[in-house]
């Protein structure tokens, strides 16, 4: 497969993150690979424990002991993130790839004014800016996210949840990164505020021509917001593809169950949950991790781990954005 | 999983083990010592005064002619007794109050918590001074223990109360309620076992506080006058200006013993804390 015209913002290959506990390694992320194109919005959805947040953290190299990135490659433009030194990675954080963490509410320093925390971020990467320049930049950023400039003098506890989320957004774009990871940016907010916050995020993204990875568990939100969606289960990427295609024709049984649990105006009736419980990541079931709960499991599901294969090739073979891939023995995959 | 041997457990908890060993040695010092040394020698006038350590009197004698080794052997258990009785009584009262405050809440909680907070701000020693001077009767060792216990209950109360508060709302209590267990059963079966580490830690801190308070009172001269407790020994040492006269063997042994007691108790409480809060001890 030939490289696309340099419009791949981020390429992740075979990422593995294990947590080394007393009882053995917990395989939080097991061989996740995907590409992220400039300007696109990729959703990463899954239940708690599916590895989506760990993946996001790993991209920023924020995994702490006892967790460890065991292997993999993360190519961000000309940088291979996993092989950078600590200092180089520090410089790359928020300058090349940034994060809006889950619960920005608790992520702001309670004893520092909001503006100071924004300037902190800027100054950690750019020296030599005068106070006026910094001040101007802070007001500019706050304006991007539709916050009044006076917000910069406030302390975090004086802001509402939505406002704090916007501050998180402002910080994440302060240094104009190429990739923004948003980890459940709206889970603590009510629906009305949610929509406004997401609208702001995407407007900012467009202005910067950055790519966004949206991590979450709300399929409904994903359906409205993203271009492509990746579905994670038990630390693996089980399906990935353009959102519309995925919703209409999910290829992996897990995705099918997820989609069928979404209410919509057309489909009314009884909604099924997914029976069973999430597998232990310490001692995962052999073969496909989903097979104990899978209604369509066949022979071989319990013994061999399925690879992520292209099920539906896109119109343009070289552009992964139209491809739908699934890791399931039900599909044998097509050549691209 | 096979039970780890004592040796393995001891190595895993070095502070706790070391602390317990020290405390044990101090506790054993009295009884074991009295087998070898005649405790009658701790009485006034039993030997020549102010002699420095020698073979006959390994720790020398004081201004009143008491053999100091005998004094130490007779006195250490007394101080320990004060500490443990006061600690136990203080813990008992504190646990009861803390429990009531945490479990029932409301104005009882406010009252108990308020009393504990106010009394904690007031320096305990002064309070004890007032108490001791007002009572004016001849103070015995057991009375000292009770007097000191009046100060040892506050910290256990707070600790137990906050534990009970957090446990009251915890899932397993709700579940127990739902499954029909009565209040008392819940207390006995669910709450108490989880309280044990905190009870143990509170006991240790109560004993420490009690020993500290009793020594403080005694050093001021308010202790049991005729008993050779460690604090009283120091008091007499100061009274007879042993500092100026260089009679270091008088006040040094009690101090060493006191230090051992506190270091031992401290290690035990550190060890217990490590068991209760393993995360705090991961070195950064």
């Amino acid at each position: 497969m030939s490289r696309a015209d340099g419009r791949i913002a981020l390429r992740v290959e075979d990422l593995r993150v294990h947590y080394h506990t007393e009882r053995g390694p917990v395989r939080a992320v097991e061989g996740v690979s995907f590409e992220l194109y400039a300007g696109e919005r990729l959703g990463l959805v899954g239940e708690s424990g599916s590895g989506k947040t760990t993946t996001a953290m790993a991209l920023m190299r924020l995994i702490r002991a006892p967790g460890r990135i065991e292997s993999g490659q993360v190519q961000l433009g000309d940088l291979e993130l996993l092989s950078l030194s600590d200092e180089q990675m520090r410089q790359a954080r928020f300058a090349r790839i940034s994060l809006i963490p889950q619960g920005v509410m608790n992520s702001l320093n309670p004893v520092m004014r909001v503006g100071a925390q924004i300037t902190d971020t800027i100054q950690a990467h750019q020296e030599g800016l005068t106070r006026e320049q910094l001040q101007e930049r802070v007001h500019e950023l706050l304006g991007f996210v539709e916050l009044d400039p006076s917000t910069s003098r406030m302390y975090p506890h004086e802001l509402s949840g939505g406002m704090k989320q916007r501050v998180g957004m402002a910080i994440s774009v302060a240094l104009k990164p190429q990739v923004i990871i948003a980890d459940e940016p709206t889970s603590a907010l009510d629906v009305v505020v949610q929509k406004r916050v997401m609208d702001t995020l995407f407007r900012v993204q467009r202005d910067l021509d950055a790519a966004v990875i949206l991590v979450g568990h709300d399929m409904g939100l994903m359906a409205q917001c993203v271009d492509r969606l990746g579905v994670m289960y038990a630390g693996r990427l089980v399906e990935i593809g353009p959102i519309q295609q995925l919703l209409e024709q999910p290829q992996h049984p897990y995705t099918r169950l997820l989609v069928s649990s979404l209410p919509s105006l057309e489909r009314k009736g009884v909604f099924r949950g997914i029976p069973g419980i999430t597998p232990s990541l310490l001692d995962p079931p052999p073969g496909c991790p989903f097979h104990p709960r899978c209604p369509e499991a066949i022979d071989g599901c319990a013994t061999r781990v399925p690879e992520l294969l292209t099920v539906v090739a896109g119109l343009d073979g070289n552009d992964a954005r139209h491809r739908q891939q699934a890791a399931c023995h039900l599909h044998t995959g097509v050549d691209v | 999983m096979t039970r780890p041997s004592f040796g393995a457990m001891a190595r895993q908890q070095p502070q706790l083990t070391a602390g317990l060993v020290i405390v044990f040695l101090v506790v054993a010092f009295g009884p074991v010592g009295s087998v070898f040394v005649d405790t009658d020698l701790s009485r006034v006038g039993s030997a020549a005064a102010n002699t420095s350590p020698s073979a006959e009197h390994p720790l020398g004698t004081d201004a009143a002619g008491r053999d100091l080794l005998a004094v130490m052997i007779a006195g250490t258990p007394l101080t320990l007794r004060i500490g443990f009785i006061a600690g136990a009584v203080g813990l008992g009262i504190g646990t009861l109050l803390g429990f009531i405050a945490g479990y029932f809440g409301g104005w009882i909680d406010t009252l108990i918590r308020g009393a504990a907070d106010v009394l904690m701000t007031i320096p305990g020693l002064l309070f004890l001074v007032v108490l001791a001077t007002s009572l004016q009767a001849t103070v015995t060792v057991n009375m000292m223990a009770l007097v000191v216990a009046s100060l040892a209950w506050m910290i256990p109360t707070r600790t137990i109360r906050s534990q009970v508060l957090s446990m009251r709302e915890a899932g397993y209590v709700q579940v127990a309620r739902l499954s029909g267990l009565g209040d008392l059963e819940i207390i006995a079966r669910e709450l108490l076992p989880n309280l044990l580490p905190y009870l143990a830690a509170s006991f240790v801190s109560a004993v420490g506080a009690a020993v500290l308070a009793s020594i403080g009172l005694e050093a001021l001269g308010l202790g049991p006058q005729n008993e050779p407790t460690l604090g009283m020994t120091i008091y007499w040492a100061l009274y007879y200006t042993s500092l100026l006269r260089g009679i270091w063997w008088w006040w040094a042994p009690p101090i060493i013993m006191i230090v051992l007691i506190f270091v031992g108790l401290f290690l035990v409480s550190m060890g217990l804390d490590r068991i209760a809060n393993p995360r705090m001890w991961k070195t950064p």
Binding site: R90, S107, M112, H157 | L131, L220
Partner: protein, 333 residues
Amino acid sequence: MPANYLVRRFAVFLIIVWAGATINFFMPRLAPVNPIRERLLQAVSFGGAGKTDMEAVVATYEAKFGLDQPLWKQYLRYIGDVARLDFGVSIANFPSRASDIILRALPWTLGLLTIATLIAFAIGTLLGALLAWPKSPALLHYLSAPLLALSAIPYYLLGLVLVFALGFTLRVFPLGGGFALGTLPKPSLSFAIDVVYHSIVPALSIVLSSVGFWALSMRGMMVTVQGEDYVNYAEARGLKSRDVFIRYAVRNALLPQTTSLALAMGYVVSGAVLVEVVFAYPGVGTVLFRAIQTFDYFVIYGVVVMVILAIALATLILDIVYPLLDPRIAYKR
């Protein structure tokens, strides 16, 4: 900062002082025989030059607190006296007033105590913070064990050891007292130096003994704070680790550390009082000690109330300073 916060804090202050005074009032009356009365009668019966004056004191005492008065009346009188800092007369040093004796000694205690405590707090907190920083020199970690051991020793006992080592054996420092024996206090540089010279060992014993406690406490706070989300987020944003350490971790850990300073007041004072006894330092502690030995009740109670007052005041000050450190507090209703 909002007025009602100040009002509430001041109310707490008053309650504490009131509680202390009340306990003082009821204590002697709990005994089967009122010890104050006994002591006064004793002083009278020894006779001598002050006999008629002592009888006058007894008469005043009977009039104010005599058994014929209803308890509540006695109590109110007592509270009134306390509010005016009138603690009565010293029985042992008749006719000096108790409050005079105490107030003369108070500056010595306050000076020694405040300075020593602040030094210990500053050094201890700094040490504790450094101990929690992964990049601090390993040497520091070896310090923590001996510091902990030191903190297990009560102040005054450490003082005893120090005075012996530094004063008696090495003869570097004086054996006690606030200033050289036989000199009179006067405002001059040489006297000031003498005072400082005499306070070094007492201060040292307070500092050495409490540094370990503050260091351990700060280290504990730092460990907790370093696990907080805002520290992780600060690192995520690519801030330099030194900035994260100082502005995000230490700054937040200081808050509970300051609170524990307020809570430790009572303990600090108790220890200091005993330190004074060991060093024959002319502060409130020595006054108390002598009063205990002579059963000079009015002085004893006076000291207790004054000390409680001082502690409550210090706590009040800290309560007022705290919102300056933590912007969240001023806004809590």
